[in-house]
Structures are given as structure tokens and as C-alpha cells.
């Protein structure tokens, strides 16, 4: 292998490693999430840089626990950005039931394969009437995951926070901290 090829190979590895960048969210109060929420977190999280304008993603052990903030989906927007035209689009006239279906359908068109609902009930997000849905799901890797989403509609936009984790060990490990973040949320 020539020196030039070695440099190119190292450059490629470095570039791939840089595809996902993380920054630290320290245990703090009043942390601003996008233009949507202010939250308190009792523990530190890793904040991943994602390319969806309506999403902020926090992780703990890689992607074994994630906290996804949906920071205001407008009429006609998809939940996750990307080239897939099949992704559901949000309708500002949605009822709470349709808003929840929009989130679940968005997950199901973004890699979630099997979805089993555990509960669906009224709840408040940042003081706004909304819903809480808990479920289990699997992706292509076959790993069973558990999650809950607390969401609400405000000013014709959809806001939500979703916590998920691998069913075995990881989900329970940070559930309380995730609940704490969600219950502290208020709109900016």
C-alpha cells in the first residue's frame, strides 16, 4: 500500500468516526431544548447531533437508552427528516389520537418492526393536556426495547418527549431520571 493510500484510508476512518458528534449535557436546571422546552436533569446525558430539525437526542449508554425531544412539528412536516417520502406527515387539525398515531406510524416507518402497546392514557406535557403511551418494540436487530412517549398539541404543533431503552436492564436503569426530566419540562 502506498503512503498516499494509507493517508486516504486513515482520513476515511476519521471521517466516518466523525459522522456522529456528541456533546455533554451536565446535570443542571433550566436547560433549553431547542426552542421548545426548558428542563432540569438530575444526571448528565450525551447529546447527539442529529439532522432532524424537530428532534433533539440525548443518550446514556450509546443508543441503549435514548431521550428524544420532539420540539414542535408543524403542519406537513415529518417527524424524522430523510429522503423517505413514505414517512407520515403531520396534520395541524389532528386530534390527540391522531397525533399519537402519527408518532407511532413515524416510528414504524423508521425502523421499528414490531410494536406492542402497553397503555395509552391522558397526561400533561409541560402543563399542556396531552397523552402518554407506553409500548414495547423491536427493530431489525431483534433486541426488545421498551419506551414511553408523553406528547401534547400546542399552537397547532406537536411536542413530545420519548424515553426508550433495551428491555433488559437498560430501560429501568434510567427510567426514573427520564421521568424527572419530563416532569420538569415547561414550554419556552
Amino acid at each position: 500500500m502506498t503512503t498516499l493510500r494509507r493517508i486516504a484510508a486513515i482520513g476515511l476512518i476519521l471521517a466516518l468516526g466523525a459522522c456522529t458528534t456528541y456533546s455533554m449535557v451536565e446535570a443542571t436546571k433550566g436547560y433549553e431544548v431547542g426552542d421548545a422546552f426548558k428542563v432540569d436533569t438530575p444526571i448528565a446525558w450525551n447529546k447527539a447531533r442529529v439532522h432532524s430539525p424537530n428532534i433533539e437526542l440525548w443518550t446514556l449508554d450509546g443508543l441503549l437508552q435514548t431521550l428524544v425531544f420532539v420540539t414542535g412539528v408543524s403542519n406537513g412536516d415529518t417527524l424524522f427528516s430523510g429522503p423517505d417520502e413514505k414517512k407520515p406527515k403531520f396534520d395541524e387539525k389532528s386530534t390527540i389520537i391522531e397525533a399519537k398515531a402519527f408518532i407511532i406510524d413515524s416510528l414504524l416507518t423508521s425502523g421499528v418492526l414490531e410494536y406492542r402497546e402497553i397503555s395509552f392514557a391522558p397526561a400533561k406535557l409541560a402543563g399542556q393536556d396531552g397523552f402518554r403511551v407506553e409500548f414495547k418494540f423491536t427493530k431489525e436487530d431483534g433486541m426488545e426495547r421498551r419506551a414511553f412517549v408523553v406528547g401534547a398539541l400546542k399552537d397547532k404543533k406537536l411536542y413530545a418527549i420519548m424515553y426508550s431503552g433495551a428491555e433488559i436492564y437498560f430501560y429501568d436503569r434510567a427510567k426514573q431520571e427520564a421521568e424527572s426530566v419530563i416532569s420538569s419540562a415547561h414550554f419556552l
Binding site: 407520515p88 418492526l113 395509552f120 397523552f131
Partner: protein, 424 residues
Amino acid sequence: MIRPVVISAAVASLLSLAACQTTGGSTTASLTGGTPSLVDPLDRLIDKYETSGSVYEIPDMKAGVQPLLTSDEAGLWLMFDKFEATAKTSGQRLIDPALHNYVSQLVCKLAGPYCPDVRVYVMRVPEFNASMAPNGMMNVFSGLLLRAHNEAQLSMVIGHEIGHFVRRHSIQRMRDMSDKAAFHTFFSIAMGAVGIPAMSDIAYLGIMGSISAFSRDHEREADKFGVLFMRDHNYDITEGAKIWENLIRELDALGDDRPTRSFFFASHPPPDERAKTLNLFADKLQGPAFPAKDNRDAYRAVIGKHRHWMLEDEIRQRRPKRTLELIKILIADGYNVGELKFFEGEVYRLRNDKDEDDLNNAVSAYHEAKRLGGYPAKLHRSLGIVYRRLDRIDDARDELGQYLRLMPDAPDAPFIRQMLKPVG
């Protein structure tokens, strides 16, 4: 040196094609490294069939025999053993015992002496497909089970896949690609040496086209085997053509959105060619006295219980034109039309295209479902939501109220009650 794009294309082709079809072999080669034959023409295949009296006498691949570990074929099998380990724990795998047993038993019946060599994985993938790996791993997609109307139609596709296996098509294809890649390498060096390297690109195009044509021939031969397996088990061969004709209707419904097809590189014969050929087979092999069966009742008894979630999966594909055509095809088959009309309404409701008057189309479909019966209680919720959007507040109230009466403990009942307050 061979161009990276050629290598990448060859590897990608090998992986995708081998995973999509199965092995084949000649009437003389053994599984000990012999060279499998090319495909048999239809007449010769049918002659062999009629002479031997059984489709299982045609392939030379010995049931229960594995390739020698030193052979290239063994390498191919080992590669697919790894894929199979992934399939076993895949989140897409369906483990419902009744569904799995039904499909497995059908595969076993059609595979005859090869039954112990084939392992079936029913996968939750909402596409029209099944696949056969050279090591005996067969994947059957839920989208195929949704589209087949009866056991005869499913037998055609499964028989086709078994045909790939018993004729060892994958190893033929791997060797063909290997030979052609080697030829391209030699040709590129030679052309470069004489100062016309651009000829290498032309050769590459020729080779890729040749690989695709080889693959199409395998598909045609596998179709013939599908038909012969059907014939051996008295299935109505005309049903084999129908499943392709229905797929053509689905694709045609896409209109300008229909995926463009490169004939030159296509690895499968076009669906219309397959339907036409299968009808010819039916004419040749199935006279009026043939005791053809389709076993639709047995098929519906098993698949019917799963059709609801299969249709939900189909709707999530967000291809409303195609899904509406599929539903129309299923309605013509006549099984639980009320359920189908509900899903037709769901497609319109979710598309909500004002130019197509989708909300009113949804209302019509839901009402037809109500007239026919067999629809889920959530129809009333959907209809109530549509009425709400159409500002038909009293009608919305009636339907949502009916939903609450039928499903008082539904998880979303509290939300429906909330909705009823402002409506009133």
C-alpha cells in the same frame, strides 16, 4: 486492474441474487463440486417430467447431501449459514405457531424428499416476495401471504423457490459472475496495453447485462419448477398466473410513479411475461379432466386471522394508489369484504387528498363496511374523526358514541370522551 466499481457491483449482485434465489444443478452433477448445467428449455423439462413421472426425479441434487467443505459451493453455504443465524433472531421473524406450521407444512409437501433440507422463516415484511438461499433457508414475506388468495397461488411461489434450490442456481450464478469478472480483468489489462482503456467500460456493461440475462433464465426455469410442483400435488396451475396478473395490476395502478425498470440489467423476467408463460404451462399440463384444487378454505382459515395486521402494515407503506388496487383485487376474491372496505376507508382517511375528495370516499367505504359486517369496532372511531373533519358534528358524535358503547374500556376511550365534549 479490475475497476472497484466492477468488484462492488459483482459482490452486491452476488449477495442480492443469491439471497433471492436458490441453487440448481444438472442431471449429472453431484454435490461434490461438479459443474451444474445451464437451464433446461421448457419442452425438455416437461419431457423429463413426463418420462420420470415425478418432478422430484428431475434434479440431480441429492436430498440430504451437503457440499464438500473444500468446494466453492460449501463456501457459499457457509456464508448463508451466517445470514440464517441472523434470521433466526430477527425482529421481523413471525413465530405464531399456526402460521409457521401452515407455511412449513406446505413447503415440506412441495419439497418432497428435500423437505428436511429446507428451513422456513416467515418474515413480517409487507412486500410481495419469498426467497431461497443455497443452504436451504427459505424466507416467506407476509406481503406475499396477504396477496395470495389461496394455497395454489402460494404453492406457485414456494415451488418456484424450491426450484432454485434443487437446481442449485446460486452456485451457477456465483461461478458465472466469477468467470465474467475474471474475463473483465483480463480484457481491461489487454485493452489498456493496446491504448484503448475505454473498451473496458463497454465490456463491463456487457458483463452486467449478461449476468442479468443468466439470472432471468434461472427465474424462468424456477417458474417451470413451480408449475411442476403444483402439477404433482394437483394444484390448479391457472392460479399461478393469476398472482402475477394481480401484481401487474398493482404496479400499473402506480401510473407515472411506477418504478422504472432497466430491462438490460433486470434480474427477473417482467411480471407480464411470467403470467403469459404460466398460462401456457397451464394449457399444456392441465387438461379439463385434471382434478385441480386451490385449497382456498384452508388458506383463509390460517391467513385470514392475520390479514388485519398485514393490511395495517401495507397501509403504512404509504403507497395509497397501489394499496387501493390491492384492496380492490382482494375484494374481487370475496373474502371478508367488510374488513377490506374498512381498510379502503383507512387509506382514503390517511391520504386525505382534497382533490380526490378522500374524506367523502372514506365515508362511503366505511358505510359499505358497516353494511357488509365483519369490520372492527374502530371503524366507528375513524368515521367519527372523518365526520369531525367534514364538520358533520352530529354524525361524528353518533359514531364516536357508538365506538365508546362497543369499546368502553379501549385505551383511547378517555380521549374520545374529551372529543365528545367540544363536539357537543
